[in-house]
């Protein structure tokens, strides 16, 4: 087994176990921390797939900002420090069955494809993926329009979040 495959298996196990703990665990703060573990596993996966910029951005944006936001929100929306009562609904076996069925269906579809397990083609030498990504994001015949649209979306989210959270003070 190549070291790439070993690392992929380790990070896959980490991601799946953390994700299961996120949706099962009783304590919400633990759930947010298991989410951090899952996100870190995803970052490792991105690094193996040669998407180095995405791996680092995943850590910075998801773990550094979004997970921190989740932890803050969990801490700010409780009347006492412990969780009480059950955290899952009474009929939790319906979503579990649904999840398993969908997973089985997707796995069947995926494995039925012709070239499902092949090794990755080598990155053509001399192509600097980072530089190509940067050029693609801002060049007019690249993806400048989605880039600008995403920044407008972020601005709208910023204004909206501030307005909703601050409420009417005036």
């Amino acid at each position: 087994m190549t070291p790439d495959q070993i690392i992929f298996l380790i990070s896959a196990v980490l991601i799946l176990v953390s994700a299961l703990m996120v949706v099962i665990t009783h304590n919400l703060v633990h759930a947010a921390l298991w989410l951090v573990a899952a996100l870190f596993g995803v970052a490792v996966l991105f690094a193996i797939l040669n998407a180095s910029f995405l791996a680092v951005v995943q850590v910075v944006v998801y773990i550094g900002a979004i997970a921190v936001l989740f932890v803050f929100a969990v801490m700010l929306t409780r009347k006492e420090l412990r969780d009480r009562g059950t955290q899952t609904r009474a009929n939790w076996w319906i979503p579990a069955l649904l999840g398993v069925l969908i997973l089985a269906g997707l796995a069947y579809l995926i494995l039925g494809q012709p070239d499902v397990s092949r090794t990755a083609p080598a990155i053509p030498a001399g192509v600097d993926t980072l530089r190509a990504l940067g050029t693609a994001l801002v060049s007019p015949d690249g993806y400048a329009l989605p880039f600008e649209a995403a920044s407008v979306l972020l601005l709208a989210a910023l204004v909206g979040a501030v307005y909703v959270a601050v409420g009417r003070r005036s």
Partner: protein, 95 residues
């Protein structure tokens, strides 16, 4: 890809079966991450010289960040009004 599908289904289970609104958002984050894994895997395995996969993944990042920010702000403001964030008890719009 099976990993991404499994992650997506776990997220789906989390969204549908948890009571706390923040836990539902956690499940949504897992689903978005699964989508990202798929995008980057496709980019790497099919054609690493075109940047569409990575750009799409970055836009998904930005969308997820925006949605989490607004969602959490909404949850906090609902908590201020109704002192609860269990999805069962926020039922003003039910008949």
């Amino acid at each position: 890809m099976i990993l991404a599908a499994a992650l997506f289904c776990i997220g789906l289970f989390g969204v549908l079966s948890r009571k706390n609104a923040i836990a539902i958002l956690l499940g949504i984050e897992l689903m978005l991450n699964a989508v990202n894994i798929n995008l980057v895997a496709f980019w790497r395995y099919l054609d690493p010289s075109r940047m569409a996969g990575q750009v799409f993944a970055i836009i998904v990042f930005a969308t997820a960040a925006a949605e989490v920010a607004v969602g959490l702000a909404l949850i906090i403001s609902v908590y201020r009004r109704r002192s609860t964030i269990l999805a069962d008890e926020i039922d003003l719009m039910k008949w």
